[in-house]
């Protein structure tokens, strides 16, 4: 079982990101689950969402918050300072962060692999959200797919077609751009 945790802020699309990634794996023939840790919806407030992707032999799915994820997607880098999203992350896991900074500059401990992408800039270039609040979910997924290879970019693009309610083409292009431009940290 691959367990993933998404950290974002209300309005960035973390919940849709978890559903879209689950959809991509589902389209590739895997059993999946996606689940938001639903707070009271407030723009800007921290939001957590989860996804599980079955591996061969997995036949039971549980229904509980993921405390020891294999990988993390951080839709807002300021959460690294305040919400301690790294808690419980398994050694060797990827931390995919929306930031213009380089992986090395984030100071994340070397037991983890770090990937960075300026998803906000990519989203804005394609008219996704506003300058105050870009919708970065499809861009961060493009970067995640490149870093982890858990699903293919083609499956992700199909999933965007299924799950994203508006601006499908812009979202697809944003995912491709993030996929192509993500900076993958070099493991120490």
């Amino acid at each position: 079982m691959i367990e993933l945790r998404f950290h974002g802020r209300g309005g960035q699309g973390a919940v849709v990101a978890s559903k879209t990634l689950a959809q991509a794996a589902f389209l590739a023939g895997r059993y999946v689950q996606s689940y938001p840790d639903y707070g009271v919806e407030r723009r800007g407030a921290p939001v957590v969402a989860f996804a599980r992707i079955a591996e061969p032999g997995d036949d039971l799915f549980v229904r509980q918050d993921i405390r020891e994820p294999h990988h993390l997607l951080i839709l807002d880098a300021t959460l690294l300072d305040s919400a301690n999203p790294l808690v419980g992350l398994r050694p060797g896991g990827w931390v995919v962060v929306n930031t213009p900074e380089t992986p090395e500059s984030l100071g994340i401990e070397s037991t983890y692999r770090v990937a960075t992408v300026d998803a906000s800039a990519i989203a804005l270039r394609h008219g996704l959200g506003s300058a105050a609040q870009p919708v970065v979910n499809t861009a961060i997924l493009g970067a995640f797919v490149r870093a982890t290879g858990i699903v293919t970019l083609d499956d992700l693009l199909d999933a965007i077609e299924h799950e994203v309610p508006a601006k499908k083409e812009e979202n697809r292009v944003a995912a491709i751009e993030a996929h192509d431009h993500v900076e993958l940290g070099v493991p120490v």
Partner: protein, 407 residues
């Protein structure tokens, strides 16, 4: 066309209503149910579902509209949650007394105040004695299928049916399901043709004054119909398997055959119980799971035969009847009372207000069960600062201190 899709529990419930060809939907939005009626309004507006969608100003009116529609011979559906179900309460009685086979999905949510939108089965269980059939879904598939299953039985016994679905851990969880082929669904659930309906050509009066010499008989027929619903639920569950490929039963066991200890659970948290049972088996603990799917009518005979002779039984309750115990524990004890081989029943109250009921929570419960000597009405699991145990006795309770007024 039969399709495999990735849907949330809420959207699956809407698909259940669509596959049932609900003709009138009336609802008032409330978190965490809103996605159900949101999708149904879209399906109705787009013409994919041929139904009247009646928007109303409250849940009380939503059920009233369903009562009117059902009395006129339409298949009526609604969905609600928590305070919404409570506000419907009077009309829920009306649906029973008027013998109207309405189906309702309730997304179980904790009751306010304190204001909470999270999982807790106290809302639906507060409607226990009204006379609705009640089934508890564990999966997204069941959130869809149980709507059809309820209509199939409701329309044979003229009693309404409620599908319970837990907030978020099922309502907002997306997982794969089979959306049945509409023709196959039609074969399972033929059009609703009531014995009596409101017809201007043949006027009748309904719901009038009943004197003391008739009311008891009307209720007696309701009690009889609810009894009959027990065997019909089984039959309709078998038919579901034959026609739509998934067999449903009022109870479900997992690793039960040789189990000395049994955990009883209902709803979506059962998925975690199943994993816990498997983990405990790996440790050599002979434990099994009994899932209660049908709560009304309660499968008393099967509960007796499946639990009789076990060493101990733990009942998980994501609800509480203050002054008594968890409600499922009450039901299980009552079914077992007086049976020569009745096991002791330990009630465990868990997950109130959406607190995560994790696999390890269930493991802790079973570890407690195996060593605890005396059964308790209710043992509370996960209250901050307290071990698993009964309510504190008088001497242990810290009194509230008067507020100190700052000069």
């Amino acid at each position: 066309m039969r399709e495999r899709l990735l849907l949330t529990g809420n959207h699956a419930a809407a698909y259940g209503a669509m596959l049932s060809r609900a003709e009138v939907i009336s609802a008032y939005p409330i978190t965490p149910q809103t996605m159900i009626v949101e999708l149904l309004s879209e399906l109705t507006a787009s013409g994919r579902l041929d139904a009247e969608f009646i928007t109303v100003e409250s849940e009380h009116s939503a059920m009233a509209a369903c009562v009117g529609a059902s009395a006129a011979g339409a298949r009526a559906y609604t969905a609600t949650s928590g305070q919404g179900l409570a506000l419907m309460h009077e009309m829920l009685h009306w649906a029973v007394g008027a013998r109207l086979p309405i189906v309702l999905t309730n997304v179980s949510r904790a009751m306010a105040p304190g204001w909470s939108i999270w999982s807790d089965q106290s809302d639906i269980l507060s409607q226990r004695d009204v006379g609705w059939m009640m089934v508890f879904a564990e999966t997204v598939q069941e959130a869809q299928d149980f709507v059809l299953w309820m209509y199939r039985v409701s329309e044979q016994v003229y009693l309404p049916g409620m599908v319970g679905m837990d907030a978020f851990i099922l309502s907002h969880t997306a997982e794969p399901l089979i959306v049945h082929d509409q023709e196959a669904a039609d074969a399972y659930l033929p059009p609703f043709e009531p014995i009596y309906d409101l017809d201007p050509a043949e006027p009748r009066a309904y719901g009038g004054l009943v004197n003391r010499d008739h009311y008891f008989e009307l209720r007696y027929k309701i009690y009889e119909s609810m009894e009959r619903a027990g065997s019909l639920l089984r039959e309709a569950g078998e038919e579901f398997g034959e026609v739509l490929g998934r067999r449903y039963t009022p109870l479900e066991g997992y690793l039960l055959d040789d189990a000395e200890y049994v955990v009883v659970s209902a709803g979506a948290m059962t998925s975690n119980v199943r994993q816990a049972v498997r983990d405990l088996r790996d440790r050599g603990v002979k434990v099994g799971l009994l899932r209660v799917i049908a709560f009304r009518p309660f499968p008393i005979t099967e509960v007796r035969s499946l639990l009789g002779g076990r060493r101990k039984v733990a009942v998980l309750d994501r609800n509480m009847s203050p002054g008594h115990s968890g409600i499922f524990a009450e039901e299980v004890r009552s079914a077992l009372f007086g049976q020569p081989d009745a096991p002791p029943v330990y009630g465990y109250v868990v997950g109130i207000g959406g607190r995560d009921v994790r696999v390890e929570t269930v493991v802790d419960v079973v570890d407690d069960l195996t060593v605890r000597e005396e059964p308790e009405m209710a043992l509370y699991v996960g209250v901050k600062g307290l071990p698993i145990g009964p309510l504190r006795r008088d001497s242990q309770i810290t009194r509230l201190q008067p507020l100190e007024v700052q000069p």
